[in-house]
Symmetry: none
Subunit: 221 residues, 4 copies
DNA sequence: CATGAATGAGGATTCATTCAT
DNA sequence: TATGAATGAATCCTCATTCAT
């Protein structure tokens, strides 16, 4: 909801303007839009607002993305692209299976905690029943790696006798995601109802440990 | 809503509650609004649309709820009230601790699966950072029971030696919620990315078992 | 809405406002829109402009007509409805066949001359390939009368031996329309090219006589 | 035009006139614009659309024609220039007066039928009250020939006793134009209302005969 | 209580046109 | 010449809300 009162201060300057650098312009818009959509949702976000926070004008949004929905989809696409790129950072091969899994859980927890915009965007997209995401090309590619790596890890764990045989990588991934995601996504309602802190470093560390332990216990034979 | 054309035929039908029954009118509006807000979010929902699906007119919405936000808050309140009422249905005392916990997990899983509107409303409210919920009176009351019952259960489990001593009821509740919630909330994006079915009875049963086992393994000493 | 430059003078008053008289409001809008669409075409007309010349606001246009196109269609419909109503004015039965026909031609000529808005609207609609008109219900009803009356008249003329037998009412109607229509529709380009006056009473009378004679000569055995 | 999405693939194909050939570029633009203006009118035509269908870019349109209106005027001018050039094709002198007239009518009918773009452009210009055309130089020259030739023809007809003495060439030209023009210009509305075909070869031939006969009967003493 | 009419303030989108290279 | 990027100024349309009866 926009403030009807005067408090919204316009910052008329700072616009580099007329920089003929399409990539930069696009990136700038996407950056701002990512935050706006994550903050207010697809219908709640305002093109005017996005434009204002941009180095360019509202017109450029339409020039590059065609429509509000087009911009939203691009934002979504970029977000998933980023995840895919980042997931490689954990070197699961270098550690013993259980430690690797623990590391993966902790990494996931941290990543999600530190990327609230992404989490919220996924929430928004689920409110829209994933219809925008479904339209994206290459979206399936996002999974390939995550699941494949988990599969390999499980196989290793089974071979070394430290993991049970009946593990389903997708199911396991879902559990990890669920536990990590919730801490960010439902932070507000949960902490309001249960009067608990879910954001302090201490609370996060504690929760991360709980989640990690829960996953480890589950995979143990 | 407006007459789209001169001869837009009004469907005066089906509107049964013409008899002045305030409670019924209110309930009818809330019912419709619950679905609309859950479906499209706070900014995405349309007062016109809600009014149209109602037995009354748009004017009544303002008469009873003052504003769109007022209606939204009432809807939220009702939703939480309903949960609280329903939670009593599981008689945890009648079963051995672990079985009681398993039953609670399954009940939670089923309830969330069968109440998508509620799940989505919670998502929506979290997108709005819980600010509407925070304004509700009695919201804390929702927790009292859930946590208290879990606490009692854990105490019983510890006494009987089937649960570990260091369990935190809130933390446990959060884990159960996270695992159950995700299956409904992130259904669309997850199933799109991983090409899996998350809605068939079979998939639901399997996932429910996984979640239950995960929780049980976690509480075991 | 508002012109940024100074030249457009606003007439802020005169708006009867808040008259809860839908029929009047509708009629007022249609009246203004008829002229605007006739003047500038569908794409050339401006909703803002129409609203400004109305006793109501732009919002009401959308309230009643849904869209610019919806308004245009209604305008078109009204125009054709009016014609149909007016055509009864010539009592063809009361005169001898040839005189009746002459009277019909003169009436048509005068009507078209005096209803430039209508002529231009028909031009506009033809530019749009009649797609909006085709969507109108009852549009076929417009013809029924015109052709039927001409058919009866021809039959009478044939029986009395003053008209040839091979006349096709539709073809005849087309000729009359063409000759009368052109004088209004192509007035500007024709008079510019040939440096002739096509609007003075004298010119109109002369042209009307020519057209009448042309039709009469054509139907004569 | 703008890139609708990030990966909007540009079709650099088919654009042959890369070789700097001003005349060819101009002609290409005019050709495309003629169709666009004829199709959508002055306000309905889109510069972007025109540029897209061109072998060049939008920039060139402004380079060569200054503005949308400038382009429109050029298009108009070209159209009239073409007519004037073509009218010489009928050799009226070679035939007996009435046959020459019949030939002229048929030629006019065919030309208009086969040049819908031109007809529509004239309609568009009349919607704009001929103001763009009036600004064109040499526009009067268009008439000189047509009328002069008709005048000569009539004189010949009168001398040979096959035409009445009181014929006004301009008036006659107007009648011919009206009857031929209408068949193209009002095709859509007329055929929709009267459920008749106006485009089949058979219908065209029949109508052409009617028109020719009507004109011939009119000029006969 | 109830209803249809009415509306100000925004909100998304489009257009002709110009600029930097 | 030629081209893609950029833009101010509309232009159509929507929304929550209020008024008269």
């Amino acid at each position: 909801m926009a403030p009807k009162t005067a408090k919204a201060v316009k910052k008329p300057a700072a616009k580099t303007a007329r920089v003929n650098d399409p990539e930069r312009t696009r990136a700038n818009i996407i950056g701002v839009a990512t935050h706006e959509f994550s903050e207010h949702g697809l219908s709640g976000a305002r093109i005017d607002e996005i434009a204002d926070r941009t180095h360019t004008s509202k017109r450029m949004i339409y020039y590059y993305f065609g429509s509000k929905e087009g911009l939203y989809r691009t934002v979504l696409e970029e977000c998933y692209r980023r995840i895919r790129a980042i997931e490689h950072d954990v070197d699961l091969e270098a550690l013993p299976p259980l430690e690797a899994l623990a590391e993966l859980v902790r990494f996931t927890f941290d990543y999600q905690t530190n990327n609230e915009d992404f989490i919220r965007l996924v929430m928004v997209e689920n409110i829209h029943r994933g219809e925008n995401m479904a339209a994206l090309p290459n979206i399936a590619a996002v999974n390939s790696n995550a699941i494949q790596r988990l599969k390999t890890l499980c196989a290793r764990g089974v071979k070394e006798g430290v993991m049970r045989k009946d593990l389903d990588p997708i199911d396991l991934h879902m559990s990890i995601s669920a536990l990590c995601f919730f801490n960010v996504s439902n932070r507000h309602t949960f902490s309001t109802i249960f009067k608990v802190d879910m954001r302090s470093p201490k609370a996060l560390t504690h929760r991360k440990d709980t989640v990690t332990e829960m996953i480890l216990r589950y995979v143990t034979p």
